[in-house]
Each structure stands twice: as C-alpha cells, then as structure tokens.
C-alpha cells in the first residue's frame, strides 16, 4: 500500500488479503451498502409480476419516497416538485406513521 496506511487490525488484514486472496478480502467485507435507489425507509407500493410483494428484488418500502422526492420515473405517486408539495405533511416520521400519508386526487 502506497497511499493508504492501515491503522487498525481489519485494515491490515484487508491489505494482506488484497495481495494474495481476493476472496478473503471480499469475505472481510461481508456487510455492504444498499443497492437500489433509496437508502431510507420509504413506504412502498410496488407489486411483483404475481400482484404480490414477495418477488420484488428490493423491500417494497424502498421506493415510494424516493419517487416522490427525486426520481424522474413516472410513477403512480404524487410528485413533490409541482403538484403535491405538502402530500407528506401529516407524516412527520415515515417510519412511525407512514400510514398517515393521504390519498390525493389529481
């Protein structure tokens, strides 16, 4: 290592594993960051091809808020930018009271 200096034991183990055991390096990092468009709890609406939620590749909670806030995807949720800026006003903490989110009628 020329640019990073391992300080703790995990870093030293990764530096060693990197050289001769790429599989071990992978194993040393068994937990990971999310793969999907949302990193926060966001109550969801998606269904899989059977109409249920079991087959979704991500938890259904992933997407609703992200579609609402920031996503370009033309989803069936109100958008915060122009039409429904106060849609989630009744829902201060989505984890606690996501069911407070109201229906809207365009």
């Amino acid at each position: 290592m020329n640019h990073l200096r391992p300080i703790n034991r995990k870093a030293a183990a990764l530096a060693r594993a990197r050289l001769d055991q790429p599989g071990a390096a992978r194993a040393l990092m068994l937990v990971d960051t999310p793969y999907g468009c949302s990193t926060q709890f966001a109550p969801g609406w998606e269904v899989d091809s059977s109409g249920g939620t079991y087959g979704l590749c991500q938890p259904i909670e992933r997407d609703l808020y992200d579609c609402y806030h920031s996503c370009y995807w033309p989803a069936q949720v109100p958008d915060s930018l122009t039409n429904f800026p106060s849609w989630t006003k009744t829902c201060g903490s989505p984890v606690q009271d996501w069911s407070q989110v109201d229906l809207v009628f365009p």
Binding site: L4, N8, A11, A25, M29, D32, V95
Partner: protein, 488 residues
C-alpha cells in the same frame, strides 16, 4: 463502470487525515492522492473507471490509479454493481453457545424506580405468577444445554443475573459446582460472572466469588446523593450506606486475586457530572472500571433522559475520553469502560451483522427454564425460544436473528456507525418501538457522535503511543460486561 465512495467517515487527528469504512470496519490514514481520489468519488456522479484517468496528466495517472485501487480494496470506494447489504441465510447448523445468562431469581430486595424488571416499563406480564427462584435442577439443565451446544468452543461463560442475584446463592453455588464438573469432563474451561446490587455481599459470599474468579459487576449510580435518588429499599430509604462498606470489602478481597470489578452506572434525568461520578467510583471507592448507560425506558417516564441531557452526557463522555487518551499516551490503563470497549471494537474493525450476541452465542434462561435471546427478555413471553428441557427452538431463533440483522434496518444502510452499532439493543427497541428488530432511531445522532469521538481518540492514541493498542489484540478483559449491559 461508475464507482462511488461507500459509506465512510473521514476525520483529522494530529494533522493527518484518516478514514473509517462502514463496509469493512477498516481504519486507514490517507495521503494527499488518496484523499483527492476519495473526494472525487464522493461526488454525486462518482467516477467512471477507468475513463476518468484519461484526463489526468501522465505523471499522476499511475499514482491516482494506485490510490483508487487501494480505496476499493479497503471498501471505501465501490462500483455501483456491488451487491446490496443483504441478510444472508443463516447456516443450517446451529451457532455454538458460548454464554448462558441464568436469571436465578426475579425477586429483589431493592425497589429502584427505573428498574425494567419491576418498573413501569417492565415486559413481564404481572398477571402471570412466575417462579421466584430458579431451581438447581433448572440450572443444571441450562448448563447441560450450554455444554452440549457449545460445539468446539473451549472457553464458556456462565453469568448469573436477577432480580438480585445473590438472593439465590444456593442455586449459584450448585451451578458453579456442576459447571466446573462438566468442564473437567469435557476438557473445556468455564468462567463465571454476576451482577449484583451489593446489599448481600458478606464475608463468605466474597470468599466464594474470589475462589471461583467471578467477574463481578456492581450496580451503583455514583456518590450517595445520586445513588440514593433511585436505588432505594422498598421503604424508600437509599441503599448507598448499606452497599458501600460491602463493596469496599469485595474490592479489597478481589485485588490481586480475583478479576477486575466493574461499576455499572445507570444514568437518569438530573444525572451528576460524568467525570465526577467516575472519580468517585474509580478513585475514591476503588473500582477498576466504570461503565455508564442511559436508563432504558419509554420517553415519557420522568426519569428518562431528555435530548438535552443526552447532549450533556456526550459532553461528559468527551471530557472523560480526554483523560483516557492522556492516560493511554503514557501507557497507563484508564477505567472508562465504555470508551475502552469502543476502542477495542474499532481496533479489531468489527463489522456486525447483529448488534450483540443475543440468540447467537448467548441466551438468557428464566427462573422457570424458558429460553430468551438474552437476560433482558427472560421475564416476558416476547421472543421465548424454547425451554432448557426441550432445547432451543432453532426456527424461532433463526427468525429472531433474521429480523435483527442490520441489513433489515434500512436507516442503518447509510450510517457510518453501522459496523459497531448495527441498530442497537434489541430490548431497548422492544421497549421503545414494540419491535426488537427496529433500529433504535432515537439514539442515532448520539451514537454517531460517540463513534466519531471514539475514532478521534483511536487515531490520537495511535499517533502518540501505538504500542498501547496491542492490548486490544485479544478481546478486552477490562470489565465483565459494560455499556449496553445489565441494568438491574
């Protein structure tokens, strides 16, 4: 392919820049090149590797590429196609048991106002009468389970808990005899620990604890005024003047012969200054380590710590951490066990799938022999996972562990403190949110600030006296259990 900075924290100490990776738990020092590359990867666009190097001047292209690859290797930078944080299925074979916590009694001779066992937040169903004492037979069945389920583990631990543990000394003595016999038969080693309020420590009991090298944790809340506010007898009389001479006798007997004795302070609204409490318990009373933990309660209790008190707690911890770093710089041990334990985890680079060992290497057993994830759940029917006579229900255990996996806790995915927090105490989550698998969201800001403080201290000790960190190569043995433990 697009690469971005993974969840991490960078911080400065002694003029150097360090990074802590949430993906791996690695702590590294960065040079200027790796800092610049990491910063570039931390932008919303990330970098398109290897195309981004095309625009770099020839003389720096190689070093930038090298720094980039090192960052990827440490888990600080990753491609957008890296797999998500997932709760991998648990292995088919059961986890070996390392520890059983025997709730030898649910009775107590004190009546502490904040007690989760008897107070307003108790989990136990008051309408159902439970056996007040664990029988010797149930204790032996629990120990049989421990030895049978311990697989190839050589060092096992039996922890006694209550209620007031010493109210059932008979079962404790019988358990120690039986466990030592089983250890001889199986070629394993067994060690003992207990938590007590110290009211019943007499000469014979102390001699027994020394002889069997018990790790003893004493619940004590500080100087007399602070201790007596909540830790009272049923009459309302404070217990400080009763416990102090007994604690001094225990400490004198243990010194040099037994294991270090830890003080365990429960923090409530109106708590005293942390450093003053530490000095009282460590310097004046003579505890070798002192651990602090905020009371577990729902937020509306009047002893609960409100937000401004949590800020004060962090300031108190910060001041005490300065003392710890100063001591470590001079290669002296300081007894602030919360920080000592945190530094041990940062040094080893733990990256936890679960916040603690509950239901993994540790289970709690109730007075009646019901098995729970840990001692904190034993008097409730929530998450019962079998009985010592019939064994652990592996299906229920697997369900509990799956629900408690950090990957299930979406807010944890974007948090740099995840590797050592993993969502926090199941019992606390159960009390607060009615769901043991919920992350303890009320504590997130605090935990992040505490983790940042720990990283700062770790780097400063590394700069000033790296040899000090060698003592973390093995698991820390400072306290029996600390921080998130034992509030009885």
């Amino acid at each position: 392919m697009i690469y971005r900075a993974a969840i991490h924290r960078t911080f400065e100490a002694g003029g150097q820049t360090f990074a802590y990776s949430a993906a791996s738990g690695a702590v590294v020092a960065l040079d200027e090149t790796s800092q610049a590359v990491l910063q570039r990867c931390a932008t919303a666009d990330g970098v398109d590797h290897p195309r981004w190097l095309d625009s770099a001047p020839d003389e720096t292209r190689l070093t930038q590429r090298e720094a980039f690859e090192e960052l990827v290797g440490m888990g600080l930078v990753r491609s957008e196609f890296e797999p998500a944080l997932t709760a991998d299925p648990l292995p088919e074979s059961a986890f070996p048991l390392q520890t059983v916590v025997l709730n030898v009694t649910n009775k107590c001779n004190l009546s502490c106002s904040y007690c989760y066992e008897f107070g307003e937040d108790r989990l136990s169903d008051a309408t159902r009468a439970r056996a007040p004492r664990m029988s010797e037979e149930t204790a032996r069945a629990s120990l049989d389970m421990l030895f049978e389920k311990s697989g190839r583990l050589r060092d096992l631990t039996v922890t006694f808990f209550g209620g007031e543990t010493l109210l059932n000394l008979d079962t404790i003595r019988a358990s120690v005899d039986y466990a030592e016999q089983r250890a001889r038969e199986t070629g394993k080693r067994v060690s003992f620990a207990l938590t007590t309020n110290a009211t019943l420590l007499d000469e014979a009991t102390i001699a027994f604890l020394v002889e069997h090298r018990f790790g003893v944790n004493i619940s004590i809340d500080g100087a007399q005024g602070d201790h007596d506010r909540h830790r009272t007898f049923k009459s309302g009389k404070g217990s400080y003047s009763v416990v102090l001479p007994r604690i001094r006798a225990l400490l004198a007997a243990m010194r040099g012969r037994g294991r270090p004795v830890g003080a365990r302070v429960t923090l409530t609204r109106g708590m005293a200054d942390i450093a003053e409490t530490y000095r009282h318990l460590h310097d004046e009373v003579g505890f070798e380590s002192v651990g602090f933990a905020p009371v577990t309660s729902s937020s509306e209790r009047d002893f609960a710590l409100p937000a401004e008190e949590m800020d004060r707690l962090l300031r108190g911890f910060t001041a005490l951490a300065e003392e710890y770093v100063a001591a470590a710089t001079q290669d002296r041990q300081h007894g602030f066990s919360n920080l000592h334990d945190l530094l041990g985890e940062l040094h080893r680079g733990v990256s936890k799938a679960h916040p603690c060992g509950a239901a993994l290497g540790l289970v709690g057993v109730s007075t009646e022999g019901q098995i729970s994830p840990c001692h904190r759940f034993v008097e409730s029917d929530a998450h019962v996972m079998g009985d010592v006579k019939t064994g652990i229900d592996e299906k229920l255990r697997a369900e509990f562990l799956h629900a408690g996996h950090v990957a299930q806790k979406i807010p944890c995915h974007s948090c740099f403190a995840r590797p050592h927090c993993a969502g926090g105490c199941y019992h606390e989550a159960h009390v607060r949110y009615g769901d043991a698998g919920s992350p303890n969201l009320h504590a997130c800001d605090w935990i992040r600030a505490w983790t940042a403080l720990g990283l700062d201290c770790y780097a400063r000790i590394w700069l000033a006296n790296p040899g000090y960190l060698d003592r973390f190569e093995e698991r820390p043995k400072l306290a029996v259990r600390s921080s998130s433990e034992t509030q009885a």
